[in-house]
């Protein structure tokens, strides 16, 4: 069922009125919350920034796997893009940026959706389009998405992008952890093409063990921290680097899941649609009152 904003508002109004009426009588209504599975076998990717050579083949492969506009792959050897830090957008679901590094002179780091264990976007989505799947990926249902951009605001990593270029019916776009590919037993496109295996795909818990092993065995090479292990409650994508990533590459985030506060407000706000209905009722009431006033003025 395709749904655009207008349809959504219509549905909302209809549902709002009816639920408002129902909720007044029965406060207990079955709540269709978003899918938010936190499986023990969820997958992840370990990004070893010390290995990355900045060839940007992952960007190329990603665009191919998601039917995006792909340049000749030779173009990706052009290093001029590194002059400016980029953010994932609608055509580049993943980007490689270059950062200064203490040990190596420079370090290239791939950015994309982190696929949080407690995703703020899923919690913020008012239509339940986003979901955390059993394999660890955070994906969304394009048909449900109404382009409200709440997820963009909610995301602590500023990942989701909106198709601003579409005048009608823009949707949210972000890395989907190659959900379709992994479902068929393939590796995510970026992981598969990476020539140096800077990206390692595996069970998140295995990756954490592997990451700790690497830090232990090569303490001279790594900054002793796995970014993503605890950030905002943990992310599926984990980063190893020779320096602290929080602050320069990623924002400094706490270890509490981002949805904690926002969810309570959000869910409180939309609980059983009471507040919106109340608001509608209030507005309706004002309208009703002012309508009478108009009539009484006319009579005069």
């Amino acid at each position: 069922m395709a749904q655009n904003r207008r349809d959504f508002l219509k549905t909302l109004a209809t549902i709002g009125v009816s639920t408002g009426a129902i909720s007044a009588v029965t406060p207990q209504v079955a709540k269709a919350g978003p899918t938010n599975i936190l499986s023990d076998n969820r997958m992840g990717v370990l990004v070893d920034a010390t290995v990355c050579i900045g060839c940007r083949k992952c960007e190329w492969a990603c665009q191919g796997a998601h039917d995006k506009v792909q340049q000749d792959f030779i173009e990706y050897e052009n290093n001029d893009v590194f002059k400016k830090a980029r953010r994932p957008d609608t055509n580049n679901l993943t980007v490689v940026n270059k950062y200064d590094s203490e040990l190596l002179g420079s370090e290239t780091i791939k950015l994309q959706c982190m696929h949080c264990d407690h995703p703020a976007c899923v919690s913020a989505c008012i239509v339940g389009a986003l979901s955390k799947e059993e394999n660890g990926s955070v994906i969304w249902d394009t048909d449900k998405c109404i382009g409200c951009r709440y997820c963009m605001v909610a995301c602590p990593f500023q990942v989701p992008a909106l198709e601003y270029y579409k005048a009608l019916d823009p949707k949210i776009v972000k890395c989907d952890f190659c959900f379709e590919r992994t479902k068929e037993g393939n590796l995510p496109a970026c992981v598969e093409i990476c020539p140096v295996e800077a990206l390692t795909y595996g069970k998140r818990e295995d990756l954490l063990i592997e990451a700790k092993k690497r830090i232990k065995n090569h303490s001279e090479k790594y900054f002793n921290y796995i970014y993503g292990e605890h950030e905002v409650g943990g992310t599926a994508w984990l980063y190893l680097s020779d320096k602290e990533l929080a602050g320069e590459v990623f924002p400094k985030l706490g270890n509490d899941p981002a949805p904690g506060v926002s969810e309570s407000i959000q869910h409180g706000l939309f609980a059983y649609f009471v507040p919106p209905v109340a608001l509608y009722a209030l507005l309706g009431g004002i309208m009703w009152l002012s309508k009478d006033k108009d009539k009484s003025e006319e009579k005069l």
């Binding site: 370990l46 290995v51 050579i53 173009e75 992981v191 140096v196 295996e197």
Partner: protein, 376 residues
């Protein structure tokens, strides 16, 4: 009785076996290792040690010379790359030679069990989805090995430095520049003047070309601990080289403890000149031979007499003309040197006109036959 003898024989054989094992254990036991760390099976024998194949930290040097190394190797074991690029034609021998200036074969062959050199794919799995994530897969292993050096100087990752594009790959609007594959010609400096802080003389003039060409030193004799980056460095380190490092390089041949004046001076030194230093002119016949042809004692270049007989002598110590490259025939053999070499001047051509008609001359006519000079 026969049974007893048989029994005794068996016992003695068995005990020998035990002793042999104990002997073996002697070297192993103090190591306090878990057998399983190196051996896969419970009862390893000498014939079948069933060794664990791929420990990264156990570097066994490759035991053969660079000359025996394969020249080129086509790396075509990685499947997925073939879509975009053709397999890499790896100039193995060239790299092996260069490796001698840094870590040797072991910088790439970082693990090798005793015996044959194992393929990369022995340890590195072809499949990226695998159990052991600690060892990179084959594709990553190759790339990491190459890129470790190649990115360090290029600071870019042009795949085409090593790979050719596959024929079925269409490039729409990009004109690809031709890439130079061979190594650029290495510019060998003629001389390097080092500015030092030494009070024995500020300048050290090092005649590089003389050392390589005249004194016949191989690159590896001095460049033992090099790194590709030392030449291919985009951010060269202009800090002064430390005296210790430089002394180390020279100390194999020169006395760096005592005779400072040999190298240090307040003015730029002149190159080594054999005739002015020693009085023996090398021109004409001795200019193209290496020092050690005559100065046979290693690192000792003094004490040779100027007489020809010093080197051009036979086993009994007599002058041997053959060593000059011409074996005299019977008629010329018994002549005096002066008969042809006027006034014993060997720098000039020999004269034949004293005995022969005018149409006979050297080197058109040879008084014997040409032979291989013993230093060629």
């Amino acid at each position: 009785m026969k049974i007893m003898i048989k029994f005794l024989l068996l016992v003695s054989l068995w005990s020998v076996g035990i002793f042999a094992q104990i002997n073996n254990l002697r070297t192993h036991a103090p190591m306090k290792l878990d057998c399983k760390k190196c051996h896969l099976c419970d009862t390893p024998t000498k014939a079948e040690p069933c060794l664990v194949m791929c420990p990264r930290n156990k570097i066994e040097p490759v035991r053969h010379s660079v000359e025996e190394a394969p020249v080129d190797i086509v790396i075509n074991e990685v499947d997925s790359e073939k879509d975009l690029y053709t397999p890499v034609n790896f100039s193995h021998k060239l790299h092996a030679k260069m490796s001698l200036m840094s870590g040797g074969c072991a910088i790439c062959h970082h693990y090798n069990p005793p015996g044959k050199i194992v393929k990369c794919s022995t340890c590195h799995e072809k499949n990226r989805e695998r159990e052991n994530l600690s060892i990179p897969d084959l594709k990553a292993a190759y790339h990491r090995q190459c890129m470790a050096c190649h990115t360090s100087w290029e600071e870019k990752s042009e795949c085409r430095s090593c790979h050719e594009l596959n024929d079925n790959i269409k490039i729409s609007n990009t004109i690809l520049p031709k890439l130079e594959k061979s190594h650029a010609k290495i510019k060998i400096p003629d001389k390097i003047v080092y500015q030092t802080d030494s009070d024995k003389g500020e300048l050290v003039t090092y005649f590089h070309r003389d050392h390589t060409k005249l004194f016949d030193l191989k690159c590896m004799d001095c460049h033992k601990q090099e790194n590709c980056e030392n030449c291919h460095n985009q951010k060269p380190d202009f800090s002064k080289p430390q005296p210790d490092d430089l002394h180390d390089k020279c100390s194999d041949c020169h006395d760096t403890e005592g005779k400072c004046y040999v190298c240090h001076s307040n003015v730029e030194k002149k190159p080594f000149n054999h005739p002015t230093k020693t009085g023996f002119n090398l021109s004409n016949f001795h200019s193209n031979i290496s020092c050690i042809t005559c100065h046979k004692t290693k690192n000792r270049f003094t004490g040779l007499k100027k007489e020809c007989k010093n080197c051009h002598k036979d086993n009994e110590g007599y002058f041997n003309h053959s060593i000059t490259g011409i074996m005299l025939d019977e008629t010329h053999k018994d002549l005096d040197c002066e008969d042809c070499h006027v006034k014993n001047n060997y720098m000039k051509r020999p004269t034949c006109s004293d005995c022969h008609e005018e149409d006979i001359s050297f080197p058109k006519n040879i008084p014997g036959e040409k032979v291989r000079k013993n230093h060629d």
